[in-house]
């Protein structure tokens, strides 16, 4: 690196002109962050403490440390199992267990109530009654058949007098 000062250049030119315009070398390398570490080490050896860090930098450092701590904690802490909601828990129960519990606790709930709460299915409700499924179905068929008998569209077309006669016969009016 040739001197830039004119007096020094002139002096050099008188003795060895080529050296006055010697090619510019690259700066020798130093490790990254070296000068910060140098200051730090010198201050530790002399005033015996670390370099004074501005207050703002301290707060920023502290905040960054807290964020990192929080993130680390989130990753490392044992993950609690998410509590399933009440309906899901109920859905997993076997309806017989539910019935057994209700009986042991002397809670009197009808199958209809259990059914409306979604705790059991219609089939479960029927099964819980102890009534044979065939009998139930037969009953339903019979009742349906009876209802059919009284459906208005199957009734003969009657005038008002005929209706009155009919009510008098059937209901003693």
């Amino acid at each position: 690196m040739a001197p830039k000062n004119k007096d020094i250049q002139d002096e050099l030119r008188d003795i060895f002109p080529e050296l006055a315009t010697w090619p510019e070398p690259e700066e020798p390398e130093v490790p990254a962050g070296y000068f910060d570490r140098l200051e730090q080490e010198v201050l530790e050896k002399t005033i015996g403490r670390k370099k004074v860090i501005p207050m703002v930098a301290r707060w920023v450092t502290a905040a960054a440390a807290l964020v990192l701590l929080f993130i680390g904690w989130q990753f490392l802490r044992p993950q609690p199992q998410a509590a399933p909601d009440f309906q899901s828990q109920l859905a997993e129960l076997d309806w017989l267990d539910v019935i057994a519990m209700l009986e042991s606790e002397d809670i009197d709930l009808s199958a209809e109530e259990l059914l409306s709460a979604g705790l059991i299915t219609a089939d479960d409700a029927l099964e819980s009654t102890g009534i044979d499924q065939d009998i139930v179905e037969e009953t339903i068929e019979v009742e349906s058949a009876e209802e059919v008998q009284y459906l208005p569209h199957d009734l003969p077309e009657l005038d008002e007098d005929a209706w009155l006669d009919l009510f008098e016969d059937d209901f003693g009016l």
């Binding site: 060895f16 050296l19 090619p23 510019e24 070296y34 201050l43």
Partner: protein, 177 residues
């Protein structure tokens, strides 16, 4: 904020602001000390050790500084003496003195920067210690003779003569076959 030498010295003498002043001094001058030493000893690790020693000495001796020279001139003197002591010890340990590899090319003739600097360094390393020191301060640090006189405690005339001899020897090294 850059501190003046006067601020540093004034605050260093007050026990309440002593550490703050030295922190400012370190921030302001450690880099310059390092490069001065690095040019003399070349190796980074050696330069690092010497720079740290220099600044520790400055810390211990700053109370005795009488302001007969500028603060950095005084620090420069400590750095130069430390580097010279190191070089003398290293030269004693080395059985074979450093020799330039080849200085056959004419100085400045179509050299790339790296090669030119290498050759110049080899030539500088053949100089006697005092001439080397004068050459480095003049050529790289562009230090006026008056300031150099204070750093090296030598007359300006003697320094000019040393510098002249140093450049002549470098010329011979770089142009000889």
């Amino acid at each position: 904020m850059a501190w003046t030498d006067s601020d540093i010295l004034q605050q260093f003498r007050d026990p309440r602001t002593r550490e703050k002043a030295f922190t400012a001094l370190t921030q302001q001058y450690s880099k310059r000390v390092y490069w001065h030493v690095r040019r003399m000893v070349e190796d980074h690790e050696d330069a690092n050790d010497i720079t740290q020693n220099v600044l520790v000495k400055v810390w211990r001796k700053l109370d005795d500084f009488r302001e007969e020279a500028g603060l950095f001139t005084w620090i420069y003197r400590i750095a130069t003496n430390e580097a010279l002591s190191f070089l003398e010890q290293r030269n004693r340990r080395q059985s074979v003195p450093l020799e330039p590899e080849s200085a056959s090319a004419a100085a400045g003739a179509y050299l790339d920067a790296e090669e030119a600097e290498d050759r110049l360094h080899h030539a500088i390393n053949t100089l006697p210690a005092r001439q080397k020191q004068v050459f480095l301060l003049r050529y790289y640090d562009e230090m006026p003779y008056e300031e150099m006189s204070s750093v090296l405690d030598t007359s300006v005339g003697a320094l000019k003569a040393s510098y002249h001899h140093a450049v002549q020897k470098i010329k011979e090294q770089l142009t000889s076959h």
